[in-house]
């Protein structure tokens, strides 16, 4: 009796899990499937009908004719630079806000954190005007600067983690003659690897997927990133190039998967850590 109810419970549980997995994975599979279809089949068959015959022509077209190779390269360099910047500056700011004593520290922190509540759309035009005054419209600096020095989210994430590291560790290091810089680099950062990896991957993915800021700040193919490149292919009423859009989207997905596979061990660990608290 009890083994039967366990079986029923298991089946229900796995059923729900499978449905959840299907819902999250299906859009990606459908994109990939659509990208492999011939243009004529794309509109005439339902999305879940397998691509048959499958073709790579869409990928070669998107790569060669529509400049996606250079857009990918632009996106990659922007995302890597922003990620490095965010990890470095978030760690510095987080340490100051978590451990250093100075007047108004908590006010500063909560004030900075509060800017997270302001939607991006509100600051879009003022930010654009600032960049214009600095002469950074349509430049890589204009793309990178606004998020290079960290975001409230990143600082918050790392600060909260720093606060879980025992004070005694630091005190011990100080007795051994370590200064603040040494403590940060030799003690705090090595202990925070999972959280820094999480920050890195979140930043990378966000930067990679960001559409609205690159759209506003860049104008030419020289600085164009992949999201803007793909969205530009959509028409007013209906895209005449749906096969190209899908192939572009599938192509843009690959680097993200690579980054995730590279960092996933750390992410799983950071989640496990937060669970231990």
């Amino acid at each position: 009796m009890s083994s039967l109810s366990t079986a029923v419970r298991r089946t229900t549980l796995y059923g729900i899990l499978a449905a959840g997995a299907l819902l999250s994975v299906a859009p990606y599979l459908l994109t990939l499937n659509g990208a492999l279809k011939r243009p004529a089949d794309l509109l005439s068959t339902d999305a879940w009908i397998p691509a048959h015959p499958a073709t790579f022509a869409n990928f070669t077209a998107v790569w060669n004719q529509y400049g996606m190779s250079s857009f990918l390269l632009h996106t990659l360099s922007v995302a890597v630079l922003v990620t490095i910047g965010q990890v470095v500056f978030s760690a510095l700011a987080a340490y100051a806000l978590a451990r250093m004593e100075f007047p108004g520290r908590d006010w500063l922190f909560w004030g900075y954190l509060a800017t997270m509540m302001v939607p991006q759309m509100i600051t879009l035009v003022p930010l654009f005007l600032m960049m214009r005054e600095l002469g950074l419209v349509d430049t890589y600096a204009g793309l990178i600067l606004p998020t290079l020095f960290g975001t409230p989210y990143g600082v918050f994430l790392v600060r909260q983690h720093f606060r879980t590291i025992p004070h005694d560790l630091e005190a011990a290091a100080r007795i051994d003659g370590a200064n603040t810089w040494t403590i940060l680099v030799r003690i705090m950062l090595p202990l925070s690897r999972p959280i820094l990896a999480t920050l890195a991957i979140i930043t990378f993915v966000n930067t990679w997927n960001n559409l609205i800021w690159p759209l506003i700040i860049t104008n030419s193919d020289r600085t164009r990133v992949i999201t803007v490149g793909i969205s530009a292919l959509q028409g007013e009423h209906v895209s005449d190039l749906p096969h190209i859009v899908l192939a572009g989207a599938a192509l843009a997905l690959l680097p993200l998967i690579a980054v995730f596979l590279l960092f996933q061990r750390h992410i799983v660990r950071s989640i496990a850590l937060t669970g231990l608290k």
């Binding site: 004529a40 005439s44 214009r132 969205s231 028409g235 209906v238």
Partner: protein, 448 residues
Amino acid sequence: MSASSRRVLAATATSALLLCLTTACGSSGSDTSSGGTVTLRYAIWDAVQEPALQKSVAVFEKQHPKIKVKIELNAWAQYWSKLQTQMAGRTAPDVFWDHVAYFPQFSQQNVLADLTPYIKADKLDTSIYDPKLLTGWQQDGKQYGLPKDWDTIAQVYNKTMLEKAGLTQDELGGLSWNTTDGGSFVKALQKLTVDDNGKHPNEPGFDSKHVKQYGLALGSANGQTDWWDAAVQNGCKLQDKAWGKWTINQPSCVKAIQFVQDLRLKYHVAVPASVTNTPNGASLPQVMARKQAAVVWDGSWDLNAYQSSMKGNFGVAELPSGPAGKGTVYNGLSNALYAGSKHPKEAWELVKWLGSQESQKIIVSQGSVWPGIPTLNKDYVAVWQKRGVDVSAFSKEAEGTTVGYPLTTSSATYNVKVQDAFNQVWLGQQSPKAAADSVNEESNAAIK
């Protein structure tokens, strides 16, 4: 770093930034003029038209060695938000595509340059344009753009399905409808509508829940490709005058809306709204490619989409006539000159070139849009003739009774209100009168 040196650094950085902000340091990244060469920025939203425009621009650059043109492509969905942000930052492109839905707002905000002085100075012959197109870009005697192209709505049909039903293109284009029994238009659509058992809607035993193929598919976010056209055919005016008030709740309009609803809910000859309602429903070319419908009402801008999915197995017939005769929505785009351009003279040269016979001939050869100059219409027909499709129905309609895309400062409000209300009408959840009344009132309240 000592505390004092840190303070000095902070002060220097702050003052440098302030200095920048007050004196506009650095070049703005655009409008680079080096060695007398001027670079113009030209914003467009259609990737399909870009190759032809590149060709045209290349010829322009050859004729004007001191002017370079950079085409900036952004999709319709992002084009306007980007353009408006750039205008707020006073760095909008020198020349850009303008749409009637945005034109009134732009002309009010003084972001469009008046072309009249340029036209006078260059003695430009504007009679080459269709007066209906040219005047659409005027306000208070000022010309805010030169016609780039035009579009009308016609019936795109599946050749095989039409043949099977024993109909010809001429017959399809010669149909008429009325509000009592639907007229010959509904009769033809009944022939084209088949349920799973092979029965038609006018036969006993027809199963409206299991229809294999519908006669017609309609879909539009604002009415341009469905009820606006029916409205013109019923003698309805969408506005009392250009730049005036909306009048879509007068009886002639409501009856036309009712007829469009009847096609789905009473006659069962049109694809249900649950499939075609915008913005998440299937697009018209998609419905046709899946063989769910034999005929659609669609704009000439979608011809390339039908060509890529149906490969010549489609034709174009005129819209049916209604109680008041024939009629279609006639609309177009213009090339506008940005009022804040740092190189207005060179930008005008570009606008002038893009509106010229020479440039429009290059654009036409690609077959994506009808030219702004009507004498080139035959060239466009010839391009499609080569692809096996007779598209002349669009231009015949343009010469007949037409209504322009409504000119109003309330476009943004109207577009939001109409979609929700009319989606409900097509689903049978709201009466045409109630929807027309509410949209009319709310849109008129938004007129500035």
